[in-house]
């Protein structure tokens, strides 16, 4: 049991930094960048927590993680208890500890912000989950007497589907998840790169959910093999969590040239299909010497850092606004900068140029300046006339966002969608316009975050339980 230090000391202490791979080395491999805390480091950081009542941090957490409680157990050096405390509400702690935008959520709310740096809640969550995995700590088995004899179908095994499945399984429901790809996990598996979220960690947390009795059928595309209408017939409730998977393109000339990728294709080839291990794995990928990624969000950062690791001598971000408007997490931008990514800000692509074989050889861009604020409140970028220039490039990766994929929606009679094809669902319950169908995650909100998807899955589980218990 570590000592509990006085508040005055807490304020004096700095946030414990997390060691990470040297940028020069890490651009040559796909291993995880941050190493995670040691037990000593975790305790030292945990000791800073003020144990607020009520806890502001929890209010910022869409999964309602019992933050002060689990942090307190770390100081007790009872990591198993800390793990169980987290697991009460969050089935994916090792994932969330790594990829949640903590600075906007729990850590953004932490009262320590007023005095200095917030408690490193994400790093502590990650530490606890990793420790539990390494020590083989599992959740208690499901209490068989709780069985409800009711069946729920879930479409999609991303964070929304998995979170909903875990909560319903705990409550005693018979849960089946249908997944289109050959591996469960959604974006966690096919989108977020190995160096940020090792796939072995996602697989482990998915296995834990399976151990709770959840059945996951992979290679099962709802809309083709079975419709949502059929699921509604066969199950007591259906939760649609199929994500927003369809890639957007810019609509500029030359976009179908060889060497132009959507970020989803580029990342799927690399992550899900392990193209970074080609020819050990059979899926090829092209990463030329000069690769441009268009966009300024997390997806763009992931794509550009992947390109660098695949051997690009120069990997460049082209973004039409300035650094201040970039939607990516600060940490991601800093990691990219440390790895030598070049940023061409206030720059907009207007044409992809090809050679005689249909391969990309250049990208024509125009410089931009910021004009008056638009409806979103951000200053609108306007092209500077006559500033066009051409960059020599081998690959162009388009990372400007995702749309709703229509396959699920067109097989779901009576489930209303909005004009962009997203399901219309109540924010608090996930209820759709169909009495037996719930929806949540990116397919309701548009591309968002892992933890918001987890939160949506949990809300739907609660609402499904309330509805089915009342019947």
């Amino acid at each position: 049991m570590a000592e509990r230090i006085k508040p005055a000391e807490k304020f004096k202490r700095d946030r414990v930094p997390m060691k990470e791979q040297d940028p020069k080395e890490r651009v040559k491999n796909f291993n995880e960048v941050p190493y995670g805390y040691s037990l000593e480091e975790a305790i030292k950081e945990a000791q800073r927590c003020l144990q607020c009542k009520p806890a502001a941090c929890v209010e910022g957490c869409p999964a309602d993680v019992h933050i002060p409680q689990f942090i307190d157990k770390i100081i007790d050096e009872d990591i198993e208890a800390a793990f169980k405390e987290i697991k009460i509400t969050n089935a994916l702690p090792a994932v969330c500890g790594r990829v949640c935008p903590q600075e906007e959520q729990c850590e953004g709310n932490c009262v320590m912000n007023k005095k200095g740096k917030p408690i490193a809640i994400g790093r502590l969550e990650r530490f606890v989950a990793d420790w539990a995995r390494e020590h083989g700590i599992v959740d208690e088995d499901i209490d068989e007497s709780q069985k409800k004899g009711k069946k729920v179908a879930i479409v999609g095994s991303g964070p929304a589907g998995l979170a909903c499945a875990a909560d319903l399984a705990k409550l005693g429901y018979d849960v089946t998840v249908f997944e289109a790809l050959h591996k469960p996990g959604g974006v966690l598996i096919y989108g977020i790169p190995e160096f940020r979220l090792p796939k072995s960690i996602v697989n482990y947390e998915v296995e834990q959910i399976k151990k709770m009795g959840v059945k996951i059928y992979t290679d099962y595309v709802i809309g083709y093999i079975k419709t949502v209408d059929e699921l509604v017939e066969e199950y007591d409730a259906v939760f649609l969590a199929n994500g927003a998977g369809a890639p957007s393109f810019l609509g500029i000339p030359g976009e179908n040239l060889n060497g132009v990728y959507s970020a989803s294709e580029f990342l799927t080839r690399s992550n899900l299909m392990r193209a970074f291990d080609f020819p050990e794995f059979d899926t090829p990928i092209q990463a030329g010497k000069r690769v441009v990624v268009i966009g300024g969000g997390n997806v763009a950062m992931d794509a550009v850092r992947t390109a660098k690791r695949l051997g690009a001598e120069e990997a460049i971000i082209v973004y039409r606004r300035s650094r201040a408007e970039m939607p990516a997490r600060a940490e991601e931008i800093e990691h990219a900068e440390a790895e030598g990514i070049r940023f061409e800000l206030l720059t907009n692509p207007i044409r992809v140029i090809g050679d005689e074989n249909g391969n990309v050889k250049g990208l024509e861009c125009v410089r931009m300046e910021l004009g008056e604020p638009d409806e979103s409140g951000r200053r609108r970028p306007v092209p500077i006339e006559g500033s066009n220039f051409v960059m020599d490039v081998d690959n162009v990766i388009v990372a400007i966002g995702q749309n709703a994929n229509p396959i699920v929606a067109r097989s779901a009679t009576g489930v209303e969608t909005n004009k962009w094809g997203y399901f219309v669902a109540d924010e608090e319950t996930g209820k759709t316009t169909h009495p037996k169908v719930w929806a949540g995650g990116d397919i309701v909100t548009g591309a968002a975050t892992v933890i918001l998807a987890v939160g949506a899955g949990k809300k739907a589980a609660k609402s499904i339980h309330e509805t089915l218990s009342a019947q």
Partner: protein
């Protein structure tokens, strides 16, 4: 799941397999495809559903060995399980009872995917004229099955070793020269260059032609955009908007260029695999 029930070799490079896949067989319609991964390190290989039996719970695939993945698949045996098998994918063919004749053209390995569409059209009571062709007699597949699925069957080979001598598009053009008025719709499936040629012929006679495109795919569910093709000046995803499109609107040159995207890597993978397995 996805066990190889039956394997046949139809030529040097063409194989047929019946795959156990009850749910896929039950749901599949003419014109759709599956994606399989032979073994764990494998890539996702799209193949058309050539036939299926709802009662017996299998799906037939017919494939040509062109690179590492199809070679590896061809070396798997009855009783083996595929690492992954997903389907049916893609939009089913739009079939109906036409008042005039329909012409079905299958070139090379394209005979396999044209078969279920011809069969469905014939079952709907259509007069089905099929033209099937291959480079040489040994490569001609599914002749008996196509005979059964057609009202009339015309065979052509490039070298004249069987049936008419010449390309299927030439046979099409001859047929249209005398019968164009009686023809309502044409389907052509085969290598892009053949579909392009057939489209040219159909255009001359102002006849609608449907082609089935086979761009490189990854997920096959509309998530990655690898399969994008230009149709009527617009970008479409072949896996979810197709694979069948109005041939007259397809940019075949772009399709062909995009298919060559990974030529170097594919060659390297094939050579390494052959060396590792001790194959010539």
């Amino acid at each position: 799941m996805a066990r190889i029930l039956k394997k046949e070799q139809w030529s040097d490079t063409i194989f047929s397999m019946l795959i156990e896949a009850k749910d896929v067989a039950k749901a599949s319609k003419a014109g759709q495809f599956i994606i399989l991964i032979p073994k764990e390190h494998g890539e996702r290989v799209p193949l058309t559903i050539a036939d299926s039996s709802k009662d017996e719970g299998w799906v037939q695939i017919v494939f040509q060995v062109v690179g590492k993945s199809t070679l590896e698949l061809s070396r798997m045996n009855e009783g083996d399980e595929l690492y992954s098998f997903v389907g049916p994918l893609g939009m089913p063919s739009e079939v109906e009872k036409f008042s005039g004749k329909v012409i079905m053209i299958g070139g090379g390995i394209g005979i396999a995917p044209i078969h279920p569409i011809a069969k469905t059209l014939k079952d709907l009571g259509n007069h089905v004229v099929s033209i099937i062709g291959a480079r040489t007699a040994d490569l001609l597949i599914m002749e008996d099955k196509m005979k059964e699925a057609s009202t009339e069957l015309i065979v052509a080979t490039d070298d004249g070793s069987k049936g008419k001598k010449g390309f299927v598009n030439m046979v099409l053009e001859e047929l249209l020269a005398t019968e164009a008025d009686n023809v309502d719709r044409i389907w052509a499936i085969g290598p892009p260059i053949m579909m392009k040629a057939c489209t040219e012929s159909a255009k001359k006679f102002n006849k609608p032609i449907i082609v089935s495109l086979n761009p490189i795919m990854v997920d096959g569910t509309g998530m990655c955009g690898a399969c994008r093709v230009t149709v009527g000046g617009k970008t479409k995803f072949a896996c979810v908007d197709g694979p069948e499109f109005d041939g007259a609107l397809v940019d075949f040159d772009e399709l062909m260029a995009r298919q060559r995207q990974y030529k170097e890597q594919e060659q390297k993978a094939l050579e390494l695999y052959k060396a590792k397995e001790g194959l010539a």
